[in-house]
């Protein structure tokens, strides 16, 4: 491990040198946290390199964000990684279209990705290809929608599961 003293700039330079142009498309350093946009097809390749070559070996989080106005790039799948030996963090974003809401599963690299990907599927409907058990984790199995998507009204006046007879609002 020769990457002593990882910094945002040095790691981004190495990423750019290692991967071709269309793999890495933008960079921002929000709150000092290196944030890189990655092509959704190359996500395994990049994270494998970060884990095996750069000792960024701890998967903190997998989540998603819904940008309904962002046409063709409605969903971002977000990966937070942490190097336990260097105390260095990086955030990767892969954008997906709502028509192809599917990305490779990270369970081949991190066993801990299993439940995070199930949660992301549960709340946003992102399909993780190659996941051993792609089903809901928190909500009831019979639920037929993904509740964290920004496509529902805040309150639906026609809903029938709320009885106001005794508890007027």
């Amino acid at each position: 491990m020769e990457n002593n003293g990882l910094t945002n700039d040095s790691l981004y330079t190495q990423l750019e040198a290692k991967f071709s142009d269309n793999t890495i498309s933008s960079r921002e350093d929000q709150f000092g946290l290196l944030t890189v946009e990655i092509s959704s097809e190359k996500i395994i390749e990049v994270i494998k390199w970060l884990k095996e070559e750069k000792s960024i070996n701890y998967l903190t989080l997998i989540g998603a964000v819904h940008y309904p106005e962002n046409e063709g790039r409605e969903y971002a799948v977000v990966y937070h990684l942490h190097s336990l030996t260097e105390n260095f963090r990086i955030r990767l974003k892969a954008f997906l279209s709502k028509n192809h809401l599917s990305i490779a599963s990270l369970t081949t690299l991190f066993v801990g990705a299993n439940w995070m990907e199930r949660e992301t599927f549960d709340f946003y409907g992102v399909n993780f290809k190659g996941h051993p058990n792609m089903k809901r984790i928190l909500n009831e199995d019979s639920m037929d929608y993904h509740p964290m998507r920004k496509e529902y009204q805040l309150e639906d006046a026609t809903r029938e599961d709320k009885d106001d007879t005794y508890f007027g609002r």
Binding site: D161, Y166, F167
Partner: protein, 184 residues
């Protein structure tokens, strides 16, 4: 032999050497003063219920010394707290495992109506899956309110028919919840 006295609310006809009353009133009083509650406590209402059970408020005064953590031996299901939609089938199973006669006390706004959790994951009142006898309002209710709810349960237990389970309206009411009365 000491003098035998019934609960003050049980009407008796007293004479020299005998005392008459109705069997259903005696059994009702006996049931009401020996209810075994099953606490189904999920959140802050459960904490208030623990205070109700504890030495200050002391539910044991009402013949409730023993909490029954098995539905098989419980008479009164006390649901205290938020019930998520995912938990609803579990609650229904617990209710179905209780044998007749059985009563249900819904403690607090969440169990009664979903409360502040007006959201996709929370059951909007347990009366969507099981029948409820008494609702206790409050968020959470104070122990006095829970005791008041239990007193109301006592009144029902003392005054309703001993064989409520055989009444056609009771069977019909349970069938609206898809609960099989005769199948155990």
């Amino acid at each position: 032999m000491g003098k035998v006295t019934f609960d003050a609310k049980v009407e008796t006809i007293d004479g020299q050497g005998f005392q008459l009353t109705r069997l259903d009133k005696v059994i009702g009083a006996a049931r009401a003063n020996s209810l075994w509650p099953l606490p189904f406590a999920t959140s802050c209402c459960g904490i208030e219920f623990m205070a109700t059970m504890g030495s200050n408020y002391d539910l044991a005064r009402f013949g409730m010394e023993r909490m029954s953590f098995s539905p098989r031996q419980a008479d009164l299901l006390i649901v205290a707290g938020t019930i998520s939609k995912k938990l609803a089938p579990v609650l229904k199973k617990v209710y179905e495992q209780m044998s007749e006669p059985r009563w249900v006390l819904s403690v607090g706004a969440c169990a009664s109506s979903g409360g502040i959790f007006d959201t996709y994951s929370v059951l909007q009142g347990i009366d969507r899956v099981i029948p409820v006898d008494v609702y206790v309002p409050g968020c959470p209710p104070r122990p006095e309110q829970i005791i008041d709810g239990i007193m109301n349960i006592h009144e029902m237990v003392k005054n309703e028919s001993l064989r409520r389970r055989n009444a056609p309206e009771y069977k019909e009411m349970l069938s609206t919840f898809n609960i099989d009365v005769d199948g155990e």
